[in-house]
Amino acid sequence: MMSEQIHPRGRLMTVLTLARFEARQHLRSHRMFALASLLFLFIVGGSYGLSDPDGRLTPGIATDTPYEVLFLVSLFVLLSATLGVVLLGFDAISRRRLTKELAIELSQPISRSDLALAHLLGLWTAAFLPTMAATLVGVTMVHSQMDAWPTLAELAYFLGATALVLLWYSSIQLLASSLARDLGSAVTLGVGSWMLFTFVWLLVTAVLASIIGVDMTDLENQRFDRFSEIIDLFSPNGVYQLLLEDRLTGDATPHLESRFIWLAAALWTLIPALLFTVRFRSIRP
């Protein structure tokens, strides 16, 4: 079908306005209370605990600088903020489909791609804003314990990488939600994809390593490190960790070259979002 031409700036403004509505709806939801508690407990609590000068961590894990603490806090981000995206987004499309709200949306004179983008940006904003707030509070906790601030560049880098991982999860969740036809499959797909990357990925790495014949019993084995980094490129959590590791110094830096990590980040940004958009364009209410 021939489509009506709308000025790109007008389209962008419409998408941003719709994303704001979407984010507002998520931020006002009851689930946000649960998410906010979770984020503050994990991120703020983690920042406080990990920056404690009297704290003893496993040998080899350094927490000498605020950025190193933030790097460790990223584990809590992966546990809580990505779960937050699941909480907010697992039924973002499927619920609308069940309630028939989606039929109303799809009957409006707006490009479906724009609508998909608005859904994505709205979910991402709703997940990122409280995560950013918790991170900033966490940074003040780090300062209170270590009497040092991360540099502005370090903080921006950390928040940027966190924003990216939340965007990837937002795309994955919306894609899963658009595929689900009922609440059960929405939960299964949403939580299942989160569990795959958060808990099961280690198992995937181990199985693949044993198939290829990489020794994983020796923790100092550089070959396994490299192998696991390559496998991590196929997981959003892995790429997030590699991005953050890339700014660490000494032995903690990844074996992979930065360009590969950034290429993976770019692909994780594009591919799930593109898949969701394609799916949304052909969705039937």
Partner: protein, 353 residues
């Protein structure tokens, strides 16, 4: 509202859409399932057409197709004289207001926010509050959606369909959940919109409800438009006007003479305290003539009774479908599982017939 009164606002020509369904265990394969087949329909400014049919008849599928939720497999439709394919989905949707069936509004958002979001999607400058006032939800503008009753949800959905002053309105089972007062107000609103030049399709499986608001009916069954035209004409053409209701008080009349004339006499439960008996009289052939009522009244009075009611019975949906498809009325609409379409059988009734 209407850009041109001379030509139809909406013209469907051979619209066909069949849902893709999984082919058994071969989940990667899709085959054509149920849907709508070769639908032709035309609406002019001010028309209110009742799209009626049993569950699974294809009413919703047809409305979804017109609303641009998917492309038809074949056929074409024109909106305000423009070919929908050429005009583009967004142009078509700008002129169409669609109210899906039984939308459930949930969440902590509010009617005002929902409408403002949809107004943004339409790129219009409607006033959400004005629209909520129109459907009687002004006082609930900032209430959580979760707090709306079923009737309020229907009004809310209607408000979404009226955004942007659409020229064509598609309403899927709009009366569901509305109380009688709201139904009357809704009918008044539909008439107002039609008087302003809007063309409206209202789908329902309730024929009586439709009769009070529509100018024409279009009957769908098994994905096909099986009859269309003014309601009275359709009933006449299908010879459904032979039903008469006779109720009265006192001794029961002797109607055995009617049986020999081929009239089926069905005794029914009384509906009021004034009634002692109630019959449904169905002529198998021919029609009730005006003089027949006098004869029936005389038969009742000669038995010592008094006639309380004597009037033609409106045809029920199953009667219409039975007459159109030739199936037993009691069995029409039960078979919903098959994906195959029944052989085409359409009855067109012209206004001047």
């Amino acid at each position: 509202m209407a850009e041109s009164a001379a030509e139809p606002l909406l013209e469907l020509e051979g619209i066909t859409y069949r849902y893709p369904v999984r082919d058994g265990m071969r989940f990667w394969k899709r085959k054509k399932g149920a849907g709508v087949h070769q639908v032709n329909l035309s609406l002019e400014a001010g028309d209110i057409v009742g799209l009626i049919g049993p569950n699974g008849g294809g009413k919703t599928t047809l409305l979804h197709t017109i609303a641009g939720l998917w492309k038809p497999d074949s056929g074409s439709f024109r909106v305000l004289g423009r070919d929908a394919q050429e005009a583009g989905r967004r142009w078509v949707q700008r002129h169409i207001g669609f109210m899906p069936e039984q939308v459930v509004w949930t969440g902590s958002s509010t009617p005002r926010l929902v409408l403002e979001r949809l107004i943004t999607m339409r790129g219009g400058d409607d006033d959400a509050i004005k629209m909520l006032r129109l459907v009687g939800l002004r006082s609930r503008a900032d209430s959580p959606l979760d707090s709306l009753s079923q009737g309020m949800e229907q009004r809310m959905t209607l408000a979404t369909a009226l955004l942007g002053e659409p020229t064509i309105l598609l309403l899927d089972e709009p009366m569901n959940g509305l109380d009688p007062v709201a139904q009357a107000a809704f009918r008044g609103l539909l008439r107002q919109l039609a008087d302003r030049g809007c063309a409206i399709i209202v789908s329902s499986h309730n024929l009586n409800e439709m009769e009070r608001v529509v100018d024409r009916v279009a009957i769908m069954n098994r994905g096909q438009l099986v009859a269309s035209g003014p309601m009275a004409d359709v009933e006449r053409r299908l010879a459904l006007e032979q039903r008469l209701l006779l109720a009265g008080s006192g001794p029961k009349p002797d109607l055995s003479l009617l049986t020999s004339e081929g009239v089926i006499i069905e005794e029914q439960e009384t509906r009021s305290v004034e009634e002692d008996w109630r019959y449904r009289l169905i002529r198998r052939a021919g029609r009730w003539e005006p003089g027949d009522r006098g004869l029936l009244t005389a038969a009742v009075e000669s038995a010592g009774g008094v006639v309380q009611l004597i009037h033609p019975l409106p045809a029920a949906l199953e009667d219409l479908l039975g007459a159109v498809t030739g199936q037993d009325p009691e069995k029409v609409g039960l078979e919903l599982e098959g994906d195959e379409l029944v052989p085409m059988r359409t009855l067109e009734v012209d206004d001047d017939e």
